[in-house]
């Protein structure tokens, strides 16, 4: 095929064969080898969608499919590949477990990383996890601080993000000053927040009703005064999707049994054991005498002479039971971090139905967002357990490394482009672009027109379909090229 193209000076090619799905790139390569741009090719799918899909004689249909492809091919224009340089720096927003680990891993791979933490110190909620997994916060922070290509900004926040993958301009407030820096990619690892107050059910933290966080502190203290005789844990109280709180409950219940020897009751609807080692933990807790009681209706909680009375209907016993606890550990509801709404608006990135970062779209999982080069990992994208958060960390490192490590990205230049003569700057495309790849070009002396970033564009064509001035051309799927195929319908 290559020599035929070369010898006969062929300038466009139609292949009438099998589906382009798996072979288009092979034919494109053949064109390229002959010195012809790979985009000057159409594949008429006369196997999967013609010969194999129908009974009887389908020659007519095959001919028509070929005519359609020929019509389209006539109008094709070359699309050149272009190499663009990208900034290798990565901004990691957050200072907790996921943020620290991803910064450390990124820097090990040689990518200069900036760690931006809202608080004045690093660490986030790691200390709470020490209890569960037995690791130490200090060395992790030291590792980040000691790494030579990690720049740490504490008491800092993101004010504005402009630009595209490879060259995001981020305006940062650090203390009283404002700084602007450029990064190739941004990783958000802003963690989660917890809430324990539930006024309606009097489950409010106080002396006898405490949070997991408070319990973790109590357990860390070497000799607690006045060990509680009876401890109750309640979860599935707010919602039924708590994975991390379940793990915390199981490990803390076990720790109480072992350290304090108290009677421990765990009240819940379902024990969420779909994380690594969770079912084992659940068994272990039962073996150590932690009593589990499952309810269908929410338990009633009331104060009882300095202690807490919990009334619930146990589904196993089928009857009401009353527990008088010295201490009740309330479930922490996992919430998106404060400011998520504002930041997602600022970034034009959708959040999920629970308000966490990252839309509920399977194609974005695990860590991507609709904007190339912006990633979300760990607690800020959902209620993850420890293993899943770690997988997020390494995934994002791989993603970022794949994008930036060579310092350049090869893109198809101007595959989707705006005709500045036709553009009326109506902003429609900018508003509809799902990947925020379009912005107004503010070139001095010329009229403002929309401009599509080759780097950020994902070639969906939504803008080309909606442009009221027909100023956007999507090479390969332009209006003319689509209509040319329709033109061939039925024509002999």
């Amino acid at each position: 095929m290559t020599s035929c193209i070369r010898d006969k000076n062929i300038d466009r090619v139609v292949v009438a064969a099998c589906s382009p799905e798996f072979k288009e790139h092979v034919f494109q390569q053949a064109l390229e080898n002959a010195g012809l741009n790979g985009h000057l090719l159409s594949v008429a799918n006369i196997r999967e969608q013609c010969a194999w899909a129908h009974e009887g004689d389908v020659t007519e249909k095959a001919l028509e499919l070929i005519r359609m492809a020929v019509n389209r091919t006539r109008l094709l224009q070359p699309v050149e590949e272009k190499e663009l340089s990208v900034n290798k720096g990565v901004l990691v927003v957050g200072g907790g477990f996921s943020a620290l680990n991803s910064a450390i891993q990124l820097s090990q791979l040689g990518l200069p990383t900036t760690l931006l933490e809202r608080e004045s110190t690093l660490g986030g909620r790691i200390r709470e996890l020490e209890n569960m997994y037995g690791f130490k916060t200090g060395p992790m922070i030291e590792a980040a601080e000691g790494a030579k290509n990690i720049d740490i900004l504490t008491s800092a926040e993101v004010l504005e993000v402009e630009g595209k993958i490879g060259n995001f301009m981020v305006r940062i407030r650090k203390g009283a000053e404002e700084i602007s820096r450029s990064f190739g990619a941004i990783v958000f690892a802003t963690g989660y927040e917890t809430e324990v107050t539930d006024q309606d059910f009097q489950l409010k933290p106080g002396v006898n009703i405490i949070s997991q966080e408070r319990l973790a502190q109590m357990l860390q203290a070497s000799s607690p005064k006045g060990r509680p005789q009876t401890v109750g844990f309640i979860f599935d109280f707010y919602d039924e999707n708590s994975r991390f709180p379940t793990l915390a409950t199981l490990s803390n219940a076990l720790a109480i049994k072992q350290k304090w020897g108290s009677e421990v009751y765990v009240l819940c609807r379902d024990v969420k054991v779909d994380s690594e080692g969770a079912d084992q933990l659940y068994r272990e807790a039962r073996e150590h005498g932690v009593v589990f009681s499952k309810f269908e209706e929410k338990p009633r909680i009331s104060a009882d002479d300095g202690r807490v009375k919990v009334e619930a209907k146990d589904v196993f016993l089928g009857e009401d039971m009353t527990l008088i606890c010295d201490l009740v550990v309330a479930e922490e509801r996992i919430l998106p971090p404060a400011g998520t709404k504002d930041l997602s608006f600022l970034l034009s990135i959708r959040t999920d139905s629970q308000g966490f970062y990252q839309d509920e779209n399977v194609h974005l999982y695990p860590v991507a967002s609709e904007r190339k080069g912006i990633f979300f990992i760990g607690g800020c994208r959902g209620d993850l357990d420890f293993q899943r958060a770690l997988a997020d960390v390494s995934s994002v490192v791989m993603n970022v490394y794949g994008l930036l490590s060579s310092g350049k990205v090869v893109v198809e230049a101007e595959k989707v482009k705006v005709d500045p003569q036709k553009c009326v700057a109506c902003l429609t495309c900018i508003r509809v672009c799902p990947h925020s790849a379009i912005q107004l070009a503010r070139t001095e002396g010329e009229k403002e027109v929309a401009e599509i970033s080759d780097l950020a564009c994902d070639a969906c064509g939504v803008c080309a379909a909606i442009c009221p001035a027909k100023a956007i051309k999507f090479e390969g799927y332009s209006d003319e090229q689509i209509l040319a195929q329709i033109e061939a319908l039925g024509a002999p």
């Binding site: 036709k422 009326v424 109506c426 902003l427 508003r431 009221p468 027909k470």
Partner: protein
């Protein structure tokens, strides 16, 4: 910006019923931005008309063209050759554009394909809201930059009607905000609530003398 929308199909069909050779003229400014009369809409309407005619078993030949602004004689004049080829023109411009065309090509019937609706702004893509009634006597200075004449369903100039619903919604259309609640909040933000207490006499609607005409002094 001028906001327009396409006329009902029946009306358009009746207007052009006697003609078999048409020019569909789009306008590349306001009506393109409000998705009513740009190149894309011209294409869609042309296609619709061809389909309608072919359903009736009749022929029609349609030329399509869009100019930057039909309300400019110089720009509309670019259509001269095409107008010459057809029996009638269907203009997808605002009223000003249609009239410019009509003035320029007096011998040809020029039909409006759009209803010019109001001066407004986009709230999001595909949704435009009225902002200005072009009364010729702007008083936005005392209403916090919100015009009650067009944004209040009753066009009240001295506070709300009393029928405001919960949440500051309009009595007539609960989808819409009560303009006077918006004005109150805006003035409150600016610390200028005293303006709410002032009485303003009925508006002088003769500020714009029809037909309006403005002569720039510097010209």
């Amino acid at each position: 910006m001028i906001i327009a929308e396409r006329k009902p199909m029946e009306e358009i069909k009746q207007m052009i019923a006697p003609y078999n050779k048409l020019l569909l003229a789009g306008c590349g400014t306001c009506v393109t931005v409000c998705w009513a009369g740009g190149e894309k809409e011209v294409g869609i309407l042309a296609s619709q008309l061809r389909l309608a005619r072919s359903a009736e078993g009749k022929e029609i030949s349609i030329l399509e063209a869009t100019v930057e602004r039909q309300c400019e004689k110089e720009m509309a004049a670019e259509l001269k050759d095409k107008v010459g080829e057809v029996e009638a023109v269907l203009s997808l411009a605002c009223g000003a554009g249609v009239q410019t065309m009509a003035e320029l090509f007096e011998e040809k019937p020029i039909f409006p394909a759009l209803n010019t609706a109001f001066i407004g702004m986009p709230e999001k893509e595909g949704l435009w809201v009225e902002m200005c009634g072009a009364c010729g006597d702007c008083f936005l200075d005392r209403t916090g930059g919100i015009c009650p004449m067009v944004r209040c369903a009753k066009g009240l100039l001295n506070g709300p009607c009393g029928g405001t619903r919960r949440g500051g919604k309009c009595e007539i259309d609960p989808e819409k905000d009560c303009a006077w609640v918006l004005i109150y909040r805006r003035l409150e933000k600016q610390g200028r609530l005293d303006l709410m207490r002032k009485y303003y006499p009925p508006k002088n609607f003769r500020a714009v003398k029809s037909p309006g005409r403005i002569q720039a002094v510097k010209a």
